[in-house]
């Protein structure tokens, strides 16, 4: 997937811009995987296994922001080896997720069109 990089400037630029692309889809990815309650680390692990690398420093503040916006609900769970904070999508989050999915499909279609022209 990655072509050969010519020099480190290109690599840095590539990294930065890929990161931005990923940052764009983060909210959608997160919401889509929280239909069941999970704690932060488990979510990162799962997304990573499915190909989406997310920085811990990015995900946790995001989870809090989404919760503040009412899209997630959270609670501390003291069963298990240690207390952990579990997040799950709220009903408002569910509704938004459906809308975002449609937006995403649209966007994908548009991008494919834009990129196809330039092949």
């Amino acid at each position: 997937m990655h072509s050969m990089m010519i020099n480190t400037d290109m690599t840095t630029a590539h990294e930065k811009l890929t990161q931005e692309l990923r940052r764009g889809v983060l909210v959608l990815a997160t919401l889509s995987q929280l239909d069941q309650a999970k704690y932060g680390y488990a979510l990162i692990d799962e997304l990573s296994k499915r190909g989406l690398e997310i920085d811990q420093g990015t995900l946790y503040p995001l989870l809090r922001r989404l919760e503040e916006q009412g899209l997630l609900e959270s609670e501390w769970n003291v069963e298990g080896s240690r207390p952990r904070r579990y997040y799950q999508i709220s009903s408002m989050g569910e509704q938004l997720l459906q809308v975002l999915k449609v937006d995403w499909q649209e966007l994908v279609g548009i991008m494919e069109g834009l990129l196809k022209d330039k092949e």
């Binding site: 680390y41 692990d45 420093g57 946790y60 904070r85």
Partner: protein, 343 residues
């Protein structure tokens, strides 16, 4: 694991107050989870260090939890801050200059060179204080996330101000000034016997003793102003540096004029003729001139000329200070010198 505790504590110090304990708890449990997932058995000190290094410095981690990023005065408040600052500082400086002027008018003895320096020093001190107070007020507003009400106000494109000329310095003006200054210097140096007044042509010149006694100071002031004009000619446009230089030479000029005026005051007082109205009374005496009355009238005339020069210089200085402060908050328009053709 004590290292993790220390790390979490340090992050906590930089977190926003809200949710701090909760975030810390979550952070702690995450770090332990990560260690467990990656390693078998007890993690070594080095493992913990590596993990923490990877996670990031405490400040960086804490920063990601701040809602609008970490700013003393954030992007939404900054424009308002600039505006308030510009207005406040300009008003401040103008008021100080006015007070200074009032003091000169009412109590000339209050002002010596040292006390003027003192006043300038105080003004700068108070300026810094005012700046600090405004910054603190806005920092507090930022901390409590007060949002200014200036959302997309209805702005009218047709109300946009016209483009000002690039602020070039008029070359002919400078050259004229240099010429006149050189002429004055020449007179002061080579024709001191003619610095005075005559009632009618052919009569002996009655000398102005005050000017004579201050010739070196006047020459110095003229030389400085020539030096400044050379610099202005070289730079060609008004910028911070040239404005400051002109303000500086103006201040020195004000000082010299002040010295000359008080010198005249003293001389006139000695002759018992310091009042402006007694001067008017003596005007009829021009019909039958004698040396004493001519001298008095002449000295009054010189003093009046110097007072006018002083007022003009003060006004010019105030104008320069205003333009200087304005230029910090509204950058001047630069007109491109060349237009690139083609690709």
């Amino acid at each position: 694991m004590e290292l993790i505790d220390r790390y979490v504590y340090e992050v906590g110090r930089h977190l926003p107050r809200k949710n701090r304990a909760d975030i810390k708890a979550e952070l702690h449990s995450t770090l332990v989870d990560t260690l467990e997932a990656r390693l078998e058995g007890e993690p070594s000190q080095q493992d913990v260090v590596d993990l923490l290094k990877e996670y990031g410095s405490p400040q960086k981690v804490a920063a990601s939890y701040w809602p609008e990023g970490q700013y003393l005065i954030g992007p939404s408040l900054f424009p308002l801050f600039k505006m308030v600052l510009g207005i406040a500082l300009s008003v401040f400086v103008i008021v100080q200059l006015v007070l200074l002027g009032v003091a000169v008018v009412f109590d000339q003895e209050v002002l010596t060179f040292l006390s003027i320096l003192d006043i300038i020093g105080q003004t700068f001190g108070s300026l810094f204080t005012a700046f600090g107070v405004i910054v603190i007020v806005f920092a507090v507003l930022q901390y409590f996330e007060v949002k200014p009400d200036t959302e997309e106000e209805e702005w009218d494109p047709s109300q946009l101000p016209e483009i000002e000329q690039v602020e070039t310095i008029s070359r002919p003006g400078r050259v004229a000034e240099i010429t006149f200054s050189l002429i004055f210097i020449a007179i002061l140096l080579f024709l001191p016997d003619y610095i005075g007044f005559v009632v009618s042509p052919g009569m002996e010149v009655i000398l102005n003793p005050v000017i004579i006694s201050y010739i070196p100071l006047i020459i110095l002031s003229l030389l400085i102003s020539i030096g400044l004009d050379v610099i202005l000619l070289w730079r060609g446009r008004w910028e911070t540096g040239t404005r400051l230089a002109k303000i500086g030479t103006n201040l020195f000029g004000i000082y010299v004029l002040y010295v000359l005026i008080t010198g005249h005051n003293a001389w006139l007082a000695e002759q018992g003729a310091s009042g402006f109205f007694s001067f008017l009374e003596t005007l009829p005496e021009l019909a039958t001139p004698n040396a004493a009355s001519v001298a008095i009238i002449g000295m009054h005339a010189f003093r009046l000329a110097f007072i006018i020069a002083l007022i003009v210089t003060v006004v010019d200085t105030v104008k320069l200070v205003y333009q200087l402060l304005k230029s910090f908050f509204i950058p001047p328009v630069t007109i491109p010198v060349s237009i690139e053709k083609g690709e």
